[in-house]
Amino acid sequence: MKKHSPLLSGPYLVWTAAFIVIPLLMIVFYGLTDKNGAFTWENVASMGTPERMKALVLSLILSLTATAICLVMAYPLALILTNMKIGATAFITSIFIIPMWMNSLLRILAWQTLLERNGVINQFLEALHLPKQYLLNTPYAIAIGMIYDFLPFMLLPIYNALEKIDQNVLDAAYDLGANKLQTFWKVIFPLTIPGMISGIIMVFVPALTTFVISDFLGGSKVLLIGNVIEQQFTQVGDWNVGSGLSLVLMIFILISMALMQHYDKGGETAGLI
C-alpha cells in the first residue's frame, strides 16, 4: 500500500505550531522575563506572596476534593450502567451527556440561581421550615460547580474501562473460587485503574485552572489561582507576572500527572510474587 503523503499532516502541523507551540513558548518567554525583556525568576517567585499562596492552596484543596467526590460518585454509577440493558444505559448516559451540549457558562449560571440567598434551594428549605443555607460565594459552591461540571469527564473513561472487561474474565474469577467482592477488588478494580487515571486527570486539571466557576459561584470573595492569573491579564495587564504564575501552575499539573502515571504502573504490577 502506498504511504500517505506527509503533506496531509501539514494543516495539523501548522495549527499545532501556530496555536499551541508558539503560545506556549510565548508564555515561557513572558514568564521568565521582565518588562524590558531581561531574564528574571521574579514572575515565577511572585507566586510566593501570601495572597497568591492562599489562592493556590485553596485551588488545590478544592480541585482535589472535587476530583475525589467525582470519582466516588462516578465509579458506582459506571458500575450500575455497565450492568444495565443496552436501552437503559443509553438513556442514563444521555442524561449525563446532554447537559454537556449546553454552554458551560449557562450551567454555572443556573447553579448561581439555585444557590442564591433567595434561590430555588433556599425557597425549598424554607417551605419545609428548615434553616436556609448560604452557600453562594463560599468554597462549597465552587466545589459543587466543579463536581457538576466535570462529573461526565470522570464517568465516561471509567464506564469505557468497565465496558471493555470481558464477561469471560469475570466468569474465570468466579470459576477460580473468588466471590463477587474478591472479583471486584482483584479483577474489576485493577482493570479500571487506567480509566480512573484518565478521569482524574480530566477532572483535576480543568478544576485546578478554572476561573469561570469561581467567578460565578465564588463572587469576588473566594479567589482561586485561576482568578489570580486571569486578573493579571485582564485587569492588571501584567503579562509577565500572569505568565510566570501560569508556569508554576503548569508545573503542578505536570507533577500530578507524573504521580498518577507512577501510581498506574504500581497498580499494574502490585502484588508481585
Binding site: 474474565v169 474465570a172 468466579y174 477460580l176 482483584k186 485503574i193 497498580g267 502484588g271
Partner: protein, 379 residues
C-alpha cells in the same frame, strides 16, 4: 472407571422462550475424556455452563459426586473451566494468573510457588512466571489458562472450545498435549467443540448434540462406524446418505440393487436411510475394451461380487488429490457417490462400485421432526 461422577438429570433450559436444552440426561464417569460435539446452537456450551454453574437449568438437577450442586455458585464447585478466549487476567503476571485460585483459598506462599512452577512445567512454559499475558502467543496463553485451572486440583476440567482460536498446526499439537495432560493428571475432562476431528482424536466418549437434544453417545469408533441417524452420519466425517429399502434382515435394496448387509430388525420392505463412508466404497474399472461377457469383464465382476453380491456401475465425474487419498465422485443412478481411494481413476472412467456388508450402516428413517431430533432414547 465406571463410577458416575456427574449426573445431569432432566435438564431443560431456554433463553427468551427459545428452548436450548430439552430434557437432557447424561452421566459422566470418573477419569473420562468426554466431548460434547455439535454445531453452534446445539446446546453444548450451555450444558458446559450449567456444569460450571454460570447458568441455572430451568428444570432438572446436576448431581456431582453424589451431591446436588444445581444451585451451588461457580466459586463453590470443585470444577474449573478453561474458556474459549483464554480469559486471562491481563493486569497480572503469568505467575499471578496461575496463583489466583490458590490465593483465594489462602494457601501458603511456599505452596503457591511450588504449585505455580509445577503447573508451568506441566504445560511446557517453564520460566514464564514474570511475563505478562499480552506478551504470549495464543497457544501459550491457552496453556496458561489450562495451568491456571489445574493448579486448583479440580476433579473435573471443563474446556469450552479451547483450541478454537488457534491455527491448524498448533491445534494438532495442543490435542496431543491435552491427552497427555489428562493422563498425567488423572482427572475428568469435559470438552466442548464443533470440530469432529478434534472430538474423534481426543475423546473416550463423544456426545453428539443437535438442537438441544443428544443424538448419540458412544466411543469415537461407535460414532464414526455406526451413526444412529442421518444427522450424526452427516456431522461426523464425510458420508453418503441415501434412501434405500430394507427388504429383509441382512438384505437391503439400494437404487434397486440388492446388497448384503449385517443389520437386522428393521422389518421387511421398510424404507430406511443407508450410510456408507467414502473410504468404504470399493471401485474397479470396467474393462470396456474387452466388452461384456469377455474373460476380463467376468474376472472383474467376480472380484467385485466377492465383496458383496450387490454392486453398482457408474462413471467417475470428479477427481481431487487430497494427499493421503484421492477424492472422487462417481455418478450412478442419479446420485453422486463420494469415494475415497488410494487408487486413482481418471474422470470418465466407468467403474463397478461395491461395499463390504459390514460397512453398510442402516438407519431408521425419521418419521417426524421430533424423532429426527431425539434419536437416542436411553443412555
Amino acid at each position: 472407571m465406571s463410577t458416575k461422577l456427574i449426573d445431569l438429570q432432566h435438564i431443560t433450559k431456554s433463553f427468551d422462550g427459545q428452548v436450548v436444552l430439552d430434557d437432557l440426561n447424561l452421566y459422566i464417569r470418573e477419569n473420562e475424556f468426554l466431548t460434547l460435539l455439535g454445531p453452534s446452537g446445539c446446546g453444548k456450551t450451555t450444558t458446559l455452563r450449567i456444569l460450571g454453574g454460570f447458568e441455572k437449568p430451568d428444570t432438572g438437577r446436576v448431581i456431582f459426586d453424589g451431591k446436588d450442586i444445581t444451585d451451588l455458585a461457580p466459586n463453590k464447585r470443585q470444577l474449573n473451566t478453561v474458556f474459549q478466549k483464554y480469559a486471562l487476567f491481563t493486569h497480572m503476571t503469568i505467575a499471578e494468573n496461575i496463583a489466583f485460585g490458590l490465593r483465594i483459598r489462602k494457601k501458603s506462599e511456599a505452596y503457591i510457588r511450588d504449585k505455580v512452577s509445577y503447573a508451568l512445567k506441566l504445560v511446557n512454559l517453564d520460566g514464564y512466571e514474570n511475563r505478562m499475558p499480552d506478551s504470549l502467543s495464543g497457544g501459550q496463553q491457552q496453556r496458561i489458562a489450562i495451568a491456571r485451572a489445574i493448579v486448583n486440583e479440580p476433579k473435573v476440567l471443563l474446556l469450552d472450545e479451547p483450541l478454537g482460536a488457534l491455527d491448524l498446526k498448533l491445534r494438532q499439537d495442543m490435542q496431543y498435549e491435552l491427552i497427555r495432560l489428562k493422563n498425567e493428571l488423572g482427572i475428568t475432562f469435559i470438552y466442548v467443540t464443533h470440530d469432529q476431528e478434534e472430538a474423534l482424536t481426543m475423546s473416550d466418549t463423544i456426545v453428539v448434540m443437535n438442537q438441544g437434544y443428544i443424538q448419540q453417545i458412544g466411543t469415537p469408533e461407535d460414532i464414526y462406524n455406526e451413526p444412529q441417524n442421518a444427522f450424526v452420519a452427516d456431522f461426523i466425517g464425510d458420508s453418503n446418505i441415501i434412501d434405500a429399502t430394507m427388504i429383509q434382515d441382512r438384505l437391503v435394496s439400494i437404487q434397486g440393487v440388492r446388497f448384503a448387509c449385517v443389520d437386522t430388525g428393521f422389518g421387511t420392505d421398510r424404507p430406511v436411510d443407508v450410510v456408507i463412508r467414502p473410504e468404504d466404497l470399493k471401485l474397479r474399472e470396467i474393462p470396456e475394451d474387452a466388452g461384456e461377457g469377455s474373460d476380463a469383464y467376468e474376472e472383474a465382476l467376480n472380484r467385485v461380487r466377492k465383496i458383496n453380491p450387490g454392486y453398482l456401475t457408474g462413471t467417475v465425474s470428479h477427481l481431487i488429490f487430497k494427499g493421503v487419498h484421492y477424492e472422487m465422485e462417481v455418478q450412478s443412478g442419479g446420485y453422486d457417490w463420494l469415494v475415497h481411494s488410494t487408487k486413482m481413476y481418471p474422470v470418465g472412467t466407468k467403474v463397478f462400485m461395491s461395499v463390504d456388508p459390514f460397512d453398510i450402516q442402516i438407519m431408521h428413517k425419521p418419521e417426524s421432526e421430533d424423532e429426527q431430533a431425539v434419536g437416542v432414547e436411553d443412555i
